[in-house]
Amino acid sequence: MKRMSWFNVTSLTLGFAFLYLPMLVLIFYSFNASKLVTVWAGFSTRWYGELLQNEAFLDAAWVTLKVAVISSSIATVLGTMAAYVLVRGGRFLGRTLFSGMIYAPLVMPEVITGLSLLLLFIGIGLDRGVLTIVLAHTTFSMCYVSVVVSSRLVSFDRSLEEAALDLGSTPFEAFRLVTLPIIAPAVISGWLLAFTLSLDDLVIASFTAGPAATTLPIKIFSAVRLGVSPEINALSTIMILIVTVGVVTASLVSKRNALRAQNEVQAAERAAA
């Protein structure tokens, strides 16, 4: 192994400090016994206990999770369908217009998306609550799913679908039995992307949430406006923990799959030799 030069060590330290110092400070103060956020008064897990007693936070967390799961699932189905049609549908009239329109929400300012959805919901007399947030999140995360899935479909060998048709599948069977299993990784990462986008969305949710349902980001934001409390630090620490576990698990799983595939190939080569 080559030793790292002092320059590399410095760059690494600086970079990581820039990325993680704020979070470390937050985690550190979440274990502060004092009610004052910036005055250290000894180690305590008091705020975690109080957090669990706080009905409002727990409710908001539950709503956020529900919204994220439902909206990302719907967005995945719709986004995959849209991607499939745009990549596979051949040249139909207005195809370029349609694909442009799919991607437009990606660059649309969130405030505008939120406002237009709010006006729509008021217009059709829909009471704001979990349903409206789900609809709003589906709307904006669908195009992200569509982008991820269509980039996979472009490189997909079309003759696989033709082979399925040739062997007697209906077009739907060909999609379900051949296309979908092969593009599944892209569909899953589309879902994960939609899920994370929904989890931390503040702007659109604040337009479409009603008194009946508030998401965690809205709750935290409004709580912070009244002053940062150690409880918020504790909550944020838990969220960091969940995200870390999720990311590490995902990367471990994909690394293990890659390793296993590599072993299989090596085994096959040994058997062939």
């Binding site: 003759s159 399925a164 040739d166 092969i182 299989e264």
Partner: protein, 375 residues
């Protein structure tokens, strides 16, 4: 032994399995297939041969149902298959890229088509085992496509397309991805399998050797048209045009003006100051008509002395020698500047070869060695 020759195309009472009737296919402005009529008979091993872009793959995709016919109709066993979608045709295809389903094992790949037919578990298992045995892949049934070699993948693709016992099997450049040695072995394997299963095979290829080896009949195509349909031997020995003669194998073309000189015999004046070439021809040519004489290099003899008995003999100089191991091709330049290729089998060791570069030599051929063509 009373062996009947398989030649349904010569039998006026035979009904073809596939009929292309004035089929035209256009992609926008581009005409891929131009008013093409062709019959293919049951149990044939039929090869569509041509350079890339000649329309051979389009013809195959129309048979499979992936392309629609612009004009004309295609019949399979007497039925117009135009309106039948690919999944309802009794036709299976082996794709150039093999198109094996990467997420399914070899076994599952072969069973895929059978499952779609709602067959019972027992039937499926029996048929898959039978197919695995046919292509000798029993040991690899549980492997995924990426865990087997290229040649094995090719056999899985073949087994998968044969599993449903189609009336017609289409093979799109099936051996293109294999190296030469493996390709030759596989050609014979394909022929064996075709004979055992009695399936009609239509193969698309740009490799003329491959078409000649495997096919019962070959169709040579160019720019959406069929130039000639015949058995490999007939295509090679009696090409109907300069294009076909030139496309299949190596050929010398001598251009000149024909003049009749007896029973089915013509003199060809081909250059100033040289004796005319004598050639037999079934086709008739009028006095002074432009004609091309196509002669295969192996039908031309090369010698150091002037042969006494040859009908056509001329002197030239060795320009180049291509040594191929079993054969040598001599490029002989005639006084007029034309280069004629002559090929001989190397029955003696190379050290004993008596002709070398720049040597004056005689080339000669008989009146029946070549074919006279008007186009």
């Amino acid at each position: 032994m009373n062996q009947t020759v398989f030649a349904p195309w010569d039998d006026p009472n035979a009904t073809p399995l596939i009929r292309f009737q004035n089929v035209t296919k256009r992609f926008g402005e581009f005409t891929a297939i131009d008013d093409l009529t062709l019959d293919i008979y049951a149990q044939e091993f039929f090869a569509l041969l041509g350079p890339s872009g000649c329309g051979k793959t389009t013809m195959m995709r129309m048979l499979a149902g992936f392309e629609t016919v612009t004009e004309g109709r295609i019949e399979l066993a007497g039925q117009d298959i135009g309106p039948v979608p690919p999944n309802e045709r009794a036709v299976n295809m082996m794709f150039q890229s093999y198109a094996l389903f990467p997420h399914l094992s070899v076994w599952e790949n072969i069973a895929f088509g059978l499952r779609r037919d709602r067959k019972t578990k027992g039937e499926i298992t029996a048929r898959v085992e039978e197919m695995l045995k046919l292509v000798r892949l029993e040991k690899f049934a549980q492997r995924k496509p990426h865990q087997i070699s290229g040649g094995q993948r090719q056999r899985v693709a073949l087994a998968r397309s044969l599993a449903k016992a189609p009336k017609l099997l289409l093979l799109d450049e099936p051996l293109g991805a294999l190296d030469k040695k493996l390709r030759q072995d596989t050609q014979f394997e394909l022929m064996d399998i075709q004979e055992t299963t009695g399936t009609t095979f239509v193969i698309v290829t740009h490799d003329q050797e491959e078409a000649m080896t495997v096919a019962s009949r070959v169709a040579v195509m160019d720019e959406g048209r069929i130039m000639q349909v015949a058995t490999p031997a007939a295509i090679y020995e009696y090409p109907n045009s300069v294009y076909v003669a030139d496309f299949i194998g190596d050929v010398n073309i001598i251009e000149g003006r024909a003049s009749p000189s007896g029973d089915e015999e013509y003199k060809l004046d081909w250059t100033e100051g040289q004796a005319p070439v004598l050639a037999k021809s079934q086709a008739t040519f009028s006095e002074g008509q432009e004609a091309h004489l196509a002669i295969r290099p192996e039908k031309i003899r090369i010698s150091t002395e002037k042969p006494d008995d040859a009908v056509n003999a001329m002197q030239g100089k060795v320009l180049d020698i291509a040594y191929l191991g079993n054969l040598s091709t001599y490029h002989v330049e005639l006084p007029g500047g034309q280069v004629i290729k002559a090929q001989t089998a190397n029955t003696r060791r190379i050290a004993r070869r008596d002709i070398t570069w720049e040597d004056p030599v005689w080339i000669s051929w008989s009146a029946t060695a070549g074919v006279m063509l008007d186009q």
